[in-house]
Structures are given as structure tokens and as C-alpha cells.
């Protein structure tokens, strides 16, 4: 009687074959089978070798090429779009960068462009940003890259104008209509997660190599943030304010123009900022399909391993990114303060100011149109050669003096992580990898995800790029492991220490606004062209996202939970490992997902600096006509890999979420 009262209900014993054990079992079996079957059925394919599928894809591409002037789809649709965009970009170039209208110089010279940019900054941002803008534009000339900078700017502006012209109306529509939002969501997801390099090649099939393809590629990348943020801005407008407008008898147009858009303006400007940054980043990458500008300078220098020149051009890209970012974000803040405080400045003073600025700008534009000294930047690249030489010297010094450290790091990662991963993945028969991944997916996630994984791997086999795929997968996994290590350590530090957060966050923000190309230059300078360089570039590209997500997750853990753990006498390490990380595991899982997608986006760039495999296949597909089919297939293979990894990590994140809420 007494005993039965005290005996607690016996907890159901967990079965021995829980997930971790099962997973360990699968991995052990993999290693054993790898030892047995090593080197069999690994489906290698030489660099210049093609499979029948690649040839068929190449032939199909040729058919598309040939039908350009016959097929009605081209004649009445694609060709018109191409012509229109080409004309538009050429027009913007004629204004600021290219000789035009029978003149040896553009319509507006350096003095005029700098004046206009500064005037925009004065009128829409503030004086400090205006000074930064003037200095930034002057530096393009001083670095000896005026023409290239203006080409990039022209391409970026053209793409931004077109992106906003398409994106804002669609965003408003998505903000007003739930049905359209549901429809657009997955499409935008796909546009944003697809590695940018992958769709460059197919685009050239339709729009030819040149400004049109570059602009369309840039738009694909830059439109999603415009649509997303505009829709969000419209939805953010308090419903009661809209009702108030409607209850007074506003027409739908009046509601949009007088209530919704003014209230959404500030957030929409954030969208414009994101669109501009995305466009700039893509406009430099579009150098791969022969887009003119700074990206091309960087790319050429990378191909010849000319660190100085690529650093010089990279610097100009960074300056442009900073200027564009500061002007648009200051403009956004200004809208906000104007709204909050009421127009503090007297309208008369404002009118005088505007008139003066416009008049001064008009004078500068006129001078730059008429006089050569104001049209062509004077002096032959005074600063540029210094920068080039300094960068070269720094690179050489680093390679000579830091060699011990960089080489040690390189060797640890290469021999400790990369080679084992690669050996197991490429050395296993394809059916073994397929079996192992599917089994692991079954254990870790759902049947559906397991089926997706199996299908993706089978598709990789069918594409004839199995071994290249495995090499890329190994590099991607290594990079992701590094990203997550960096992300968790730095993220936890930032999440726990407000001061660290304040110092590190701006650096991460700057890292994210910088176009991907720019990273490559110093890394290449340090490590030379190897697989490791590609991995580091991917890590640098992906780490800011992962770090921020983890930091926000750790910061989001309720203070009361941390206080309770501390009050119970936990050591800092115990607080981290038993409270903060478990409670933030959804954020960590999301960081892994995003980290993977970002790493994968750099695969093609890695192909440029010695990573080989799929990235190299894509790049050589650009440059060699007979490899075009293979390049397209490689692009598809990257998408396939990405789909598989995204599905796996997303499912894992959902599981983590469910576990965190006790639903497992």
C-alpha cells in the first residue's frame, strides 16, 4: 500500500536504436562498404569529355541559337525585350559612360555626374552623405577607373529602374492580394535561392551575350527584394487607418495613393536600397557574360592572377556599394524623421536650398558637356597605380612572410577535412552514396524528403556529372562545417555580449553589402589558386548570414530563462550549452540552411580560382562553345545539389522547431 504510493510511474525506456545510434550505424556501414568497394562505379568524367546528354543539350542550345530569327517566340517576344533593354542600357551608357551621339565623350562628363550624385545626396539624404558621395565619385577617377565605374553604374541604374518598374507594382499587388502573394512566394524563393551564376548561361541563349542578358540576370536577382519588401510595406499599414480612409468614401485609387503608399513609403525605400545593392552585386558578376564595367576588370585580373589590378577595381566596387547604400538608407531615415517630426524646416528655406543645389548642378553638367577637362577625368590614374603596387606588394609580402601560417591553415583544412570528405564521397560507388543519403534522410527527416534526396542524386547520375558533383559536395560540406563553427562561436559571443555585437555587426553588414567578387581578391592573394581558396571565399561569403542568425537566436532566448539558470548556479559554459543553444536551435538550424545556400552560390566563383568540379564546368561552358552543353548540365547539377541540401536542412530546421516545442 505504502510502496505503491511512493513509487513514481516508471518512465518508458527509450529504445536503444534511437536516431543518433541509427545514424552512427549508417555512417559506420558506409565506411566499411567504402573500404570494400572503393573506386568502383564512381562514374568519373574527364574535363573535356562529354556524355551523349551533354551533346544533346549542346545541340538543343544550337537549335535555339539558330531559330533566333525564325521562331515566333523570339521574333515577336524575346527579341523585342532584348532590343528594348539593349537600347535602354545603351542610352544610360551614352549619358554617363560611353562616347555617344557623334561625340568622343559621354553626354555628361565626370564633373557633371559627380555633381548630380552629390545633389541627389544633398536633397534626399544629408550633407555628410553628400560629402561621402562626392569623395566616392572622385575616387573612381583617381583610381583610374572612371569609365569602368560608370559602365557598372549605368548597368546597375538601368537594372534598378527596370527592376523597380516591375517590382513595385507587383509588390503592391502582392500586398493587396493574398492569392497573388501565395502564388508569387515560391517563385521568389526559387529566384533568390538559385545560385546566381547558374542562370547566366541559359539567359545568354535567349538574350545573347551583352547588356540585355546582364540586365535580365541582374533583374532576376534584384526584383525579389523589391517585390517582397513592397508587399510587406503595404501589409504593414495599420488596417484601421485603411478602414478610416474607406469609411470616408475613398475610391480604391485614393486609398492606395493617399493612405497606403504614403504610409508604406519608408519601408519601400528600404526595398529600393536592397534592390540597388543586389543589382550592384549582380552587375559585377555579370562580367562572366561579358557585361562591361568593374566586374570585367576584376575578372580579367583574376584570370591572370593580377592581385594589384583586381584589388584596385575591387576597391572601386566597394566604394560604389558604400556610397549607394549610405545615400538610400539616409534617404529612408529622412522620410521617417520628416513624418515623425512634421516638416521642421521652413518650406521657404527648403525651396531656396533646392533651387541653389539644382542651379549649381546644372552649371556643373553644362561644364562637363562642353569642356574636355570636365568631361574626361584629368591625370592618368594617379592613385590607381599606387593602389595596384601597394596591393601587389602586400600580397607578395603576405605570401612570403605569412606563408607558414596560411600554409598551415590550408594544410589542416585540406588534409584534415577536405581530403577525407572528398575521398569518401568520390571513392564510393554512386549507388552506395545514394543509399546512405536516403537512409540518413529517412532517419533524420521524413519519407518525402528522403524521396527528394534519392531523386536528386539519381538526377546527378543521369546528368553524367556524378564525380564532379561529389567533389563539389565535399567542398560545400567542408565550407558549411566551417561556416557553422564560425557562426556558432561568434554568434554565441555576440548574442551574450552586447559590446561585441555592436562592434562586429557593422562589419558583417558591410560584408553582406559587398559584391561577392571582391572577397576573392585578397583571399587569392593569400592562398593562391587552390581548392582551399574557393572554400575560404565561400566561408567569407556565407559566414555573416550564419553568424547574425545565431546571434539573433541566442539574443532571443528569454532573459528569465538565462537568469533562472544562472540563479541555479550554472557556469557560463553550462548556460550556453544547456540553455542558450538548445533554446536557439531553431535559429542554428536556419543558419545551417542559409549557410549552405550561400556556400553553394559561391561554387561557380570557386571554379574561377581553382576549385574545379561543377564550378569549373560552368565557367568553361561560358568560354568554350563545344563545352556549352556540359556547362548547362553542370549548372543544373548545382541546382539539383542545392535542392537536395536545402530540403534536408529545412526539414532538420522544422524538426528542431518541433522538438523545441515538445511535439516530438
Amino acid at each position: 500500500m505504502v510502496t505503491s504510493q511512493v513509487t513514481a510511474p516508471v518512465p518508458a525506456r527509450r529504445p536503444v536504436w534511437t536516431r543518433p545510434y541509427l545514424l552512427a550505424g549508417i555512417l559506420a556501414a558506409w565506411l566499411v562498404l567504402w573500404l570494400i568497394f572503393r573506386g568502383q562505379a564512381t562514374l568519373p568524367l574527364g574535363g573535356a569529355e562529354l556524355t551523349p546528354l551533354h551533346e544533346r543539350i549542346g545541340a538543343a542550345a544550337d537549335v535555339i541559337d539558330d531559330s533566333r530569327n525564325e521562331n515566333p517566340l523570339f521574333l515577336y517576344f524575346v527579341n523585342y525585350i532584348r532590343l528594348f533593354i539593349d537600347q535602354f542600357v545603351t542610352f544610360v551608357q551614352a549619358l554617363i559612360s560611353a562616347p555617344s551621339f557623334g561625340r568622343p565623350v559621354p553626354v555628361v562628363g565626370w564633373l557633371g555626374v559627380t555633381g548630380i550624385a552629390t545633389a541627389v545626396a544633398v536633397l534626399y539624404a544629408n550633407l555628410r552623405v553628400a560629402l561621402l558621395t562626392a569623395a566616392g565619385f572622385a575616387s573612381f577617377g583617381l583610381l583610374g577607373l572612371w569609365r569602368e565605374s560608370m559602365d557598372t553604374l549605368a548597368l546597375t541604374l538601368a537594372a534598378v529602374v527596370l527592376s523597380l518598374a516591375v517590382g513595385i507594382p507587383l509588390g503592391v499587388w502582392a500586398g493587396l492580394s493574398d492569392r497573388f502573394e501565395r502564388l508569387a512566394g515560391p517563385v521568389l524563393d526559387f529566384m533568390q535561392t538559385m545560385p546566381t551564376f547558374v542562370y547566366l548561361a541559359p539567359l545568354t541563349l535567349f538574350f545573347l551575350i551583352g547588356p540585355a542578358s546582364a540586365t535580365v540576370a541582374t533583374m532576376i536577382y534584384a526584383i525579389p527584394p523589391a517585390i517582397r519588401i513592397t508587399s510587406h510595406a503595404i501589409r504593414e499599414v495599420p488596417p484601421e487607418t485603411v478602414e478610416a480612409g474607406a469609411s470616408l468614401g475613398s475610391t480604391p485609387w485614393q486609398l492606395l495613393a493617399k493612405v497606403r503608399l504614403p504610409l508604406a513609403k519608408r519601408t519601400i525605400i528600404v526595398g529600393v536600397n536592397q534592390t540597388i545593392m543586389a543589382a550592384l552585386s549582380m552587375a559585377t558578376i555579370a562580367a562572366l557574360i561579358d557585361a562591361p564595367g568593374l566586374g570585367k576588370t576584376v575578372l580579367k585580373a583574376l584570370e591572370t592572377l593580377d592581385v594589384g589590378t583586381s584589388f584596385n577595381a575591387g576597391l572601386a566596387i566597394v566604394i560604389m556599394a558604400i556610397v549607394l547604400d549610405r545615400v538610400t538608407s539616409a534617404a529612408g531615415r529622412r522620410v521617417e524623421t520628416a513624418r515623425r517630426a512634421g516638416r521642421a524646416r521652413r518650406p521657404l528655406w527648403r525651396r531656396v536650398q533646392v533651387t541653389a543645389v539644382l542651379a549649381a548642378t546644372a552649371v556643373l553638367v553644362y561644364l562637363s558637356h562642353v569642356y574636355v577637362w570636365a568631361a574626361v577625368f584629368p591625370g592618368e590614374a594617379g592613385l590607381g597605380s599606387h593602389v595596384r603596387r601597394a596591393a601587389d606588394a602586400a600580397s607578395q609580402w603576405a605570401q612570403a612572410n605569412l606563408y607558414t601560417y596560411t600554409n598551415a591553415l590550408k594544410n589542416v583544412v585540406t588534409y584534415g577535412l577536405l581530403n577525407p570528405f572528398e575521398a569518401v564521397l568520390t571513392g564510393s560507388p554512386w549507388w552506395l552514396v545514394l543509399l546512405v543519403v536516403t537512409a540518413a534522410a529517412l532517419v533524420l527527416t521524413t519519407v518525402r524528403v528522403a524521396v527528394v534526396c534519392a531523386a536528386c542524386l539519381a538526377l546527378l547520375v543521369a546528368l553524367g556529372l556524378w564525380q564532379d558533383g561529389m567533389v563539389t559536395l565535399a567542398a560545400t560540406l567542408v565550407a558549411t562545417v566551417l561556416v557553422m563553427a564560425l557562426g556558432v562561436v561568434t554568434g554565441v559571443w555576440m548574442g551574450r555580449d552586447g559590446r561585441a555585437d555592436r562592434v562586429i555587426r557593422p562589419i558583417l553588414d558591410a560584408g553582406q553589402t559587398m559584391p561577392a567578387f571582391v572577397y576573392l581578391v585578397p583571399i587569392l592573394g593569400l592562398f593562391g589558386a587552390t581548392r582551399f581558396t574557393a572554400i575560404i571565399a565561400a566561408v567569407v561569403y556565407a559566414a555573416p548570414v550564419a553568424i547574425k542568425l545565431v546571434a539573433d537566436g541566442v539574443r532571443g532566448v528569454p532573459v528569465s530563462a538565462v537568469e533562472a539558470a544562472t540563479a541555479a548556479g550554472s557556469s557560463p559554459w553550462q548556460v550556453i550549452s544547456k540553455v542558450q543553444l538548445p533554446m536557439a536551435r531553431r535559429a542554428v538550424a536556419l543558419a545551417a540552411n542559409q549557410g549552405l545556400i550561400y556556400v553553394l552560390a559561391m561554387v561557380v566563383v570557386g571554379g574561377l580560382v581553382g576549385a574545379g568540379a561543377l564550378g569549373y564546368d560552368v565557367v568553361s561552358g561560358f568560354s568554350q562553345l563545344q563545352l556549352r552543353g556540359k556547362g548547362l548540365a553542370a549548372g543544373l547539377a548545382i541546382v539539383v545539389l542545392g535542392t537536395m541540401l536545402a530540403a534536408l536542412t529545412k526539414a532538420a530546421a522544422r524538426r528542431a522547431d518541433a522538438a523545441a516545442h515538445g511535439r516530438l
Binding site: P238, E240, G245, G249, Q254
Partner: protein, 353 residues
């Protein structure tokens, strides 16, 4: 619960006036195939059963009532009772599922878009719980918004808006921005905006629940004053019984989307329609709301019938001094006819509750 005498005939000021707004069989059902619910057997189900059976939520169930010209008509209920949806149905900010809403002979439900806009511009206006002001416009431009979208020229619309600004006591704040004002002042702007179009009916959706208690009392007085000055018909939504009793000529009590009771404040307090309303009004001091009509008794043999005289609509609280001072029962008289008498016993019984 002594007073059970039905006060059907209580002559309030508005009761002689004809109805300005007539609502018949109004339904609002949210959910899949919502239109099938009203008029079908499903309509008889309770809210929870309906939700279980069809996934639909009946926010307003078969509401019928009429609002008389010039009265303050209060709709009262707890959150989730459907009162906000009801008022939105009346202005068609929410499209009703079934029923008719007739404003002065015009069926609002049948109005086409343009006609509906005209109704909203000229015939009725609404004041919102969270004000719904436009933060990027000056106070004056907020008030003038309704006139602006009608295409009224700048000079007349500003002069009208300034008039309204003075009316709600915000003289001098024309150039301020909403964010610079306190909550109470922002709601005054909302009020001025609603009045600017000179509507016949004003709808208030819990206009003062976002304000703190002292300001709330101020604003209630403001509404009473405005009602006296401009004499608009007002439909006032609230969850606050005190507010309902203070402002309402008549009160409609809602629960789970259905009407429970409609009546004057003293009817609701004195003769609750069911236990729900009874529970609701339990803490109200009845002597502040009920009138002599509710406690008078027929004169009995032996009553001295030469006491002081009072009308049947005098609130008990105000009759207390007279009743207690007199040494004989007070006679309740209307139009020279003796309706009954009230003695100290009756008054003390109500007060002692």
C-alpha cells in the same frame, strides 16, 4: 430583483422620432461557404457547434434593430461578441452575409460601389478605436481628408476643417502632426474628421478604450456635449457598461454574435433579459440608473395621498432627499394622473442592495 414592472411605455426623448437606420436579419459569417449558413438549419446551431460542423464563425447572428433619429444608440458586449463586426457591417467595411440595412429609405447593402462611396462621404462617418489617422499629414489635412477626396477646393475645405478643429477644442493645433498629440487629442482629431462631412449618422467603434480612464471620462463628456450641440444620430460600440449607461439613450446587449436585449439603460439594469445580462449589470448601483417608475407601488388603503409630487422618470438617487424628508409617501404623477406612490421602504430597499 424587485422591480419587474415592464417599462415598455417609458417615454424617452427619442422614442417619438422615426427610425433613421433599420437593420433586419443581419448575418455575418466568416469561413468557407459562409453564404450557405443564414436561412439554413445550420443557422439554428450555437456558435461553437457551427464552428465544429462547418469551420465557419458566425460573428453576427440574425441581428434586427432600429436606431431612431437623434438618439445615442449603444451596442455593448464583451470582446468577441461581434459588436465591432456589426458596426463594420453597417458601413460595409465588412460585407454582411445576409440581411438588410436601410438608412432613411436607402438599402445600404444594395448600394453599388459608387453609391456606397457617396453614402460614406455624405451620410455617415466613423470614429475608430486606434484613431486611424494619417501620420504623414497635418492635423488640418487629416480633418480635411474626407472633403479632399470629394474634390472640395482647398479654401472651403480648410475653412470647414478649421471650424471642426474649434468644435472639438483643438484650436491652434492645425499644423501639428498626429504623433505630436496625446491619445485623447488624436481621438478629437478623429472626431473632427468624422464631423467634417456633416454626416447624419456617426458610428463609434470603441473610440475611448485605448485611452486612460481620466481622459476617457473627458471624452465621454465631449461626446455628450457634441450630441447636444450638433444633434447627430450616434451608434456607439463599447465593452464598458459604465460608458454605455452614461451615453446611451438605448442600449443593445450582444453575446456570441446574437442580440440579447435592447432597451433604455434603466430597462437593461432593472429588467435584465437573461442571466447573462443580469450578471453583467450586477455591480451597477441601481439607484443611479433606475427611475421611480421601477419602484413605485399602487397606493394602498391607509396611504396618505397628500405627499410631495415627483415625475415617474426621476432617477431614484435624485428622489432620495425628497422621499426621506417627507413623512408620507411621495406621489408619482404624470400628466396629472397618479401612477403610484413611493415610500422610504422602497427607496431604502434599492439603496441597500
Amino acid at each position: 430583483m424587485t422591480a419587474t414592472s415592464p417599462a415598455e411605455t417609458s417615454p424617452t426623448a427619442a422614442s417619438e422620432n422615426p427610425a433613421i437606420l433599420d437593420v433586419r436579419g443581419l448575418w455575418k459569417v466568416f469561413g468557407p461557404r459562409a453564404a450557405d449558413v443564414p436561412g439554413s438549419p445550420l443557422a439554428e446551431l450555437s456558435r461553437a457547434e457551427l464552428k465544429e460542423r462547418t469551420g465557419c464563425v458566425a460573428a453576427v447572428r440574425d441581428a434586427s434593430f432600429s436606431v431612431r433619429r437623434g438618439e445615442v444608440f449603444v451596442v455593448m458586449g464583451l470582446s468577441g461578441s461581434g459588436k465591432s463586426t456589426l458596426v463594420r457591417c453597417l458601413t460595409r467595411l465588412v460585407e454582411p452575409t445576409a440581411g438588410e440595412i436601410v438608412l432613411d429609405g436607402t438599402d445600404i447593402r444594395r448600394a453599388a460601389d459608387k453609391q456606397l462611396r457617396d453614402l460614406r462621404r455624405h451620410r455617415f462617418a466613423m470614429v475608430f478605436q486606434h484613431f486611424g489617422l494619417l501620420p504623414h499629414r497635418r492635423v488640418l489635412d487629416n480633418i480635411a481628408y474626407g472633403l479632399e477626396i470629394q474634390g472640395v477646393k482647398k479654401a472651403p475645405r480648410y475653412s470647414r476643417a478649421t471650424e471642426m478643429l474649434d468644435l472639438v477644442g483643438l484650436t491652434g493645433y492645425a499644423d501639428s502632426y498626429p504623433d505630436q498629440l496625446s491619445g485623447g487629442m488624436q481621438q478629437r482629431v478623429g472626431l473632427a474628421r468624422a464631423l467634417a462631412g456633416d454626416p447624419e449618422v456617426l458610428f463609434f467603434d470603441e473610440p475611448f478604450s485605448a485611452l486612460d480612464p481620466l481622459i476617457r471620462r473627458d471624452m465621454q463628456n465631449e461626446v455628450i456635449r457634441l450630441h447636444r450641440e450638433v444633434g447627430k444620430t450616434m451608434v456607439f460600440i463599447t465593452h464598458d457598461l459604465g460608458e454605455a449607461l452614461r451615453l446611451g439613450d438605448r442600449i443593445l446587449v450582444m453575446r456570441d454574435g446574437a442580440l440579447v436585449q435592447t432597451g433604455t439603460p434603466d430597462e437593461v439594469v432593472g429588467a435584465p433579459a437573461d442571466d447573462y445580462v443580469r450578471e453583467f449589470v450586477r455591480d451597477v448601483s441601481r439607484s443611479h440608473v433606475l427611475t421611480l417608475r421601477w419602484i413605485m407601488r399602487p397606493p394602498e388603503a391607509g396611504d396618505a395621498l397628500d405627499g410631495p409630487e415627483l415625475g415617474p422618470d426621476v432617477v431614484i438617487k435624485e428622489a432620495v432627499p425628497t422621499v426621506l424628508r417627507a413623512d408620507r409617501p411621495v406621489r408619482v404623477v404624470a400628466d396629472g394622473e397618479l401612477l403610484g406612490v413611493v415610500g422610504a421602504a422602497e427607496v431604502l430597499e434599492v439603496i441597500a442592495e
